[in-house]
């Protein structure tokens, strides 16, 4: 019997290695796998490359992971912003590398990793400062730049409902980076708000099929905060 549920966050995080590339989903704290991020801090892996939409806000989650000196490099679309206080400190000390990407390029590079596409051309960023050092090429008289795939060793995912095959359904804007990151990592770890029996999730509605999922832990995290950090 396929059963991807594990009993604890500690079990879910087992085996993550120093130097791993970790994709962390979530947008504005919605669909963010906070319990797994805390679990990663607890687990102890260092020298991580973290791929997340921001460089962390406030003092929890990705910000805390950075603050504890565990992130060698952050790949994100929002670095400096109101609330990115911990990143600012660490970055000012020169203790973290930064790769800044347009948000859609970030999403598409992860999608390319999931789909076996090592590189693709995009108009986003062409002719701008972000194109520096990137290969440019014309197609039909428009300039595009070459972007490469991003693949994770680990993806941390928050789902609304999950079954024992690892099939996932998300909730409203909690979907965001979750499906694409879940599909782009070697080891995909999920925290789910609810557990569904096999066959209970609609086959038409499953947003991430279990094939992409390795471990699921049941965490009743509750709603994201209404006051957004």
């Amino acid at each position: 019997m396929i059963d991807k549920f594990v009993r604890s966050v500690a079990e879910a995080m087992a085996g993550i290695k120093d130097g791993a590339t970790v994709l962390i989903a979530g947008f504005a704290q919605v669909g963010e796998p906070r319990a797994l991020i805390d679990g990663l801090i607890e687990q102890g892996a260092r020298d991580l490359v973290v791929v997340h939409n921001t460089a962390g806000r406030g003092r929890e989650g990705v910000a805390r992971l950075i603050g504890e000196g565990r992130v060698r490099k952050i790949v994100c679309s929002f670095a400096r912003s109101r609330g990115s206080v911990i990143f600012e400190e660490v970055f000012a000390r020169g203790d973290i590398e930064l790769e800044i990407l347009p948000q859609g390029t970030l999403a598409e590079r992860i999608r390319a990793g999931a789909a076996g596409i090592p590189a693709f051309y995009t108009a986003t960023g062409a002719g701008t400062k972000l194109a520096e050092g990137k290969e440019a090429r014309q197609f039909d008289d428009r300039e595009y730049i070459l972007e490469h795939w991003i693949r994770g060793d680990v993806a941390l995912i928050e789902a609304w409902r999950a079954d024992r095959w690892g099939n996932l359904i998300y909730r409203e804007a909690g979907r965001n980076f979750n499906p694409v990151m879940a599909a782009a990592a070697e080891l995909t770890i999920v925290q789910t708000q609810h557990v569904a029996a096999l066959g209970e999730l609609s086959p038409e509605e499953i947003a991430t099929p279990g094939v992409y999922v390795n471990r699921v832990v049941h965490i009743e995290a509750g709603d994201p905060p209404i006051k957004i950090e």
């Binding site: 919605v30 929002f78 670095a79 859609g104 992860i110 400062k129 804007a173 909690g174």
Partner: protein
């Protein structure tokens, strides 16, 4: 500015309403942070416009009243929103495929500078910002069918923002189709900026005084 006695600049809300007037029914529209976000409030409910948010929402409705927020429903500006009947959710990758594939009829953005060839600068005020927050602006600027800009006509110091060439780092080249300021509505054409509307009492000469690039009447 002494001649301002003759005319009155639009306020933030009036400016948002002015933009909203030009959005036809049925368009798919993304609204950037700031004044652009206010535009949605001025599209009459019976004129159906499909509002998109980069984090995977189509068919966004107005902000819910305080105390009635849905914690799971935030837009790309991290504000709580609602979903209209007919709305739907998608992943970030599907959402940006929609943006980058040219499926938005319109994106309304703020800007620091716009050049007469349509170049847009709205993400950095200096070449030296080594840790910027870009978000979806470059994807939207390069991907949407039309970019309309809402911004103040000049900087607080009175420096023009409608330029021959942008001095700040570009978001995307040649993407801006129209600029709305507190003073005028200006199209970007093959011949440069063309004024299509001004606040009552304002003269083209007075507007030109506040604009670096030449204005066509």
């Amino acid at each position: 500015m002494s001649e301002s006695a003759n005319w009155k600049p639009l306020g933030r809300e009036e400016l948002a309403a002015r933009v909203a007037r030009d959005i036809p029914e049925g368009w798919s529209v993304n609204l950037g942070i700031g004044i652009p976000t206010l535009v949605g409030n001025y599209v009459p409910k019976e004129r159906e416009v499909v509002f998109h948010s980069e984090n995977g929402i189509l068919g966004m409705g107005p902000a819910p009243p305080a105390g009635h927020e849905n914690a799971w429903l935030v837009n790309a500006s991290r504000q709580h929103v609602s979903l209209l009947p007919g709305g739907s959710f998608m992943s970030h990758s599907d959402s940006f495929a929609l943006v980058r594939g040219g499926h938005l009829d319109l994106c309304v953005l703020g800007a620091f500078q716009v050049a007469e060839n349509g170049d847009l600068a709205n993400w950095a005020r200096s070449e030296n910002d080594n840790a910027p927050a870009i978000g979806g602006a470059m994807d939207l600027a390069a991907g949407a069918k039309r970019i309309w800009i809402v911004m103040e006509h000049t900087t607080r110091a009175g420096e023009p923002r409608l330029l021959r060439r942008c001095s700040y780092p570009l978001t995307a080249g040649g993407c801006v189709k129209r600029v709305y300021t507190e003073l005028a509505v200006i199209d970007v054409t093959a011949d440069g900026f063309r004024v299509i509307d001004m606040v009552p009492g304002l003269t083209l000469a007075a507007l030109q005084d506040r604009t670096e690039a030449p204005l066509l009447g």
